[in-house]
Symmetry: C2
Subunit: 198 residues, 2 copies
């Protein structure tokens, strides 16, 4: 699915057993803590929750972005797979719409993931760029098909659309925010439709 970035580094020698174990503990703790306290949660707290020293956390995940990437790797995998499975869908625009809604749903259940995406977009570290690129590619495959079939205009790049949707999610705070974003996505897609006579 994903190249093993950060998961098991292709070193000369395999990782030691305790290191592997601690890594898993950290990921598990981070998932919980990010979901509870948001993406700005204290890293010390995560290490504590994992029963591990702070130094160990920083060795496995040198930066906050590295931790984000690893924690949400499965989710990104899922979205990439979803896009791949719909590249032959009979209605490409619906496929695009569904994918964006899936992104929103996913992000809605994983408190902290949006902020993680946003923070990743800000700090242009290589690891964040990679995650971002995977999502853009997935979205791009769906969007391109709509454009090629002249169902949508070519007004926005996949990157733009992704940024727009992530941005919309970012400022939402109410518990029902997912219901607020859904119509925004519909409007955005409607805005990309070709005028009837074109």
């Amino acid at each position: 699915m994903s190249n093993n970035e950060g998961k098991t580094k292709p070193r000369g020698r395999p990782q030691r057993a305790d290191a592997r174990r601690n890594r898993e503990r950290l990921l598990s703790a981070a998932r919980t803590v990010f979901a509870t306290n948001g993406a700005n949660a204290s890293l010390q707290g995560i290490a504590r929750e994992a029963g591990v020293g702070i130094g160990t956390l920083y060795r496995h995940f040198p930066s906050r972005e590295n931790l984000y990437t690893a924690v949400y790797e499965h989710e990104v995998d899922h979205l990439v797979a979803l896009a791949a499975s719909r590249t032959q869908a009979p209605d490409p625009v619906a496929a695009l719409r569904d994918w964006l809604q899936a992104l929103v749903s996913l992000v809605a259940t994983k408190t902290g993931m949006i902020s993680a995406l946003a923070i990743s977009a800000e700090t242009k570290s290589a690891v964040s760029q990679a995650t971002s690129a995977r999502l853009i590619d997935a979205l791009g495959s769906l969007l391109d098909r709509c454009v090629t079939q002249k169902l949508l205009r070519d007004a926005l790049s996949a990157r733009d659309v992704l940024h727009a949707v992530v941005g919309m999610c970012l400022i939402q705070t109410e518990p029902d925010w997912q219901q607020r974003v859904a119509p925004m996505i519909d409007v955005l897609i409607d805005g990309l439709r070709r005028p009837a006579g074109d």
Copy 2:
């Protein structure tokens, strides 16, 4: 223009001269520092820049949001006035579009203002709500007119549109980001247009 929220508190006795002076120094310093270092800049740094103790800063602006509100009050005033001046424009959709672009332009020149708006949206303090409400009202007056004249569907509330646009700006990082957002706004408005035959 604006009610004097935070500017000159209607106390029994007028503010002391040194207090007034320090307040201006703080605002001036905050404007500079926010523009340079973004909205997360250190408050200690602002106090230092202003040549004032940290305690003085906190007395004048008990929370970060208070400082944001005061710093960007003029900008919000400007947007409110702009909306008021266009409520009779011949083309209401163009007026709406222009206003949103003006918002983006303003925000583009004032590094830190978007984050300030976003942070204000998150922390639902009364003072932030007030600023937010002023912008929503301004935008609402333009949007309502489009809807009343059946030029646009009322699929989104003014609040939704504002959030969408602010969100779009929020994740932009490149220097040319304003050029990237402009077409997004156009697409959004196109998505709100009624189908030709409606």
